[in-house]
Amino acid sequence: MILVNYMASVFLIVLGLYTVCTRKNLIKVVLGLGIVDYGVNMLIVSFGFREGGTAPIYQMSDLLNGVAPGFFVDPVPQALTLTSIVIGACVDAMALSLVIMIYRAYKSINADDVRRLRG
């Protein structure tokens, strides 16, 4: 429940959408696709914050000495974000492979030059 995190995530998503819509260089388009993923991941993790809570791990040194750590932050959104990060990385890898093969076939990565199919 942090206000700054929500604003920053929405700003990142809109920035990524702007990059995909208005840029001609194909590598910049792929980078914009990645920025949308980062914004969404930050939004998911920010939904699980509780004020005054600590990380959801039992620390042996604290518990055996008798220091009370309080209560935990939500562990479920953090677990779902791990899967989302791996999926974002896989999508970026496949998109960049396609851009590399487009360059080898057409000799340019401007989106205006690779529009028409060649016979």
């Binding site: 990380a55 791990i57 039992y58 042996m60 791990l82 791996v86 890898a93 960049l96 492979s97 590399i100």
Partner: protein, 160 residues
């Protein structure tokens, strides 16, 4: 550009930096994978840290040394092996008890031990092994596209 055994020697500073940081990357990554249930980390995080060792090797030594040291066929087979081990560990639940992915042996020792968590530990090791080999294979695949540039540089270096 200096040549040594026919392989071009890159910057000395980059090579020394890669020499210093390579064992740290491998050992720290293996520690994060092994102690996945006790300290922060787990399978995915540790696998990516070990995968960065391939990148350090390329930066310090070049593409020919990379192709000579690492066996890419073995990397591709071991990645499928990691996925199969994960599915077999999940099917253990059906063999012993009721549902898929069930923790079947989890009470051998205290909470802070390594094998006290049951199938969670072994699943974490299997996923860490899979991500390790998978990311290394992907990096070698993409770095192999620079083969033409290195051959042109070698030809220019020999004619100079």
């Amino acid at each position: 550009m200096k040549f040594r055994d026919g392989i071009e020697e890159k910057n000395v500073i980059v090579k020394c930096g890669a020499d210093i940081f390579l064992p740290f990357a491998i050992v720290f990554g293996l520690y994060v994978i092994l102690f996945g249930t006790v300290s922060p980390g787990g399978g995915f995080q540790g696998g990516v840290i070990v995968g960065s060792a391939v990148l350090l090797l390329y930066l310090g030594y070049g593409l020919k040394v990379l192709a000579k040291i690492i066996n890419t066929e073995a990397l591709r087979i071991n990645e499928a092996l990691g996925a199969t081990v994960y599915v077999v560990l999940g099917l253990l639940g059906i063999i012993f008890g009721c549902n898929f992915c069930r923790n079947v042996f989890y009470s051998n020792g205290a909470v802070g031990d390594l094998v006290s968590a049951g199938t969670i530990t072994f699943m974490s090791w299997a996923v860490g092994y899979k991500v390790l080999t998978g990311v290394s294979f992907l990096l070698i695949l993409m770095l192999g596209l620079l083969r033409d540039d290195e051959e042109e540089e070698q030809k220019e270096g020999k004619t100079e």
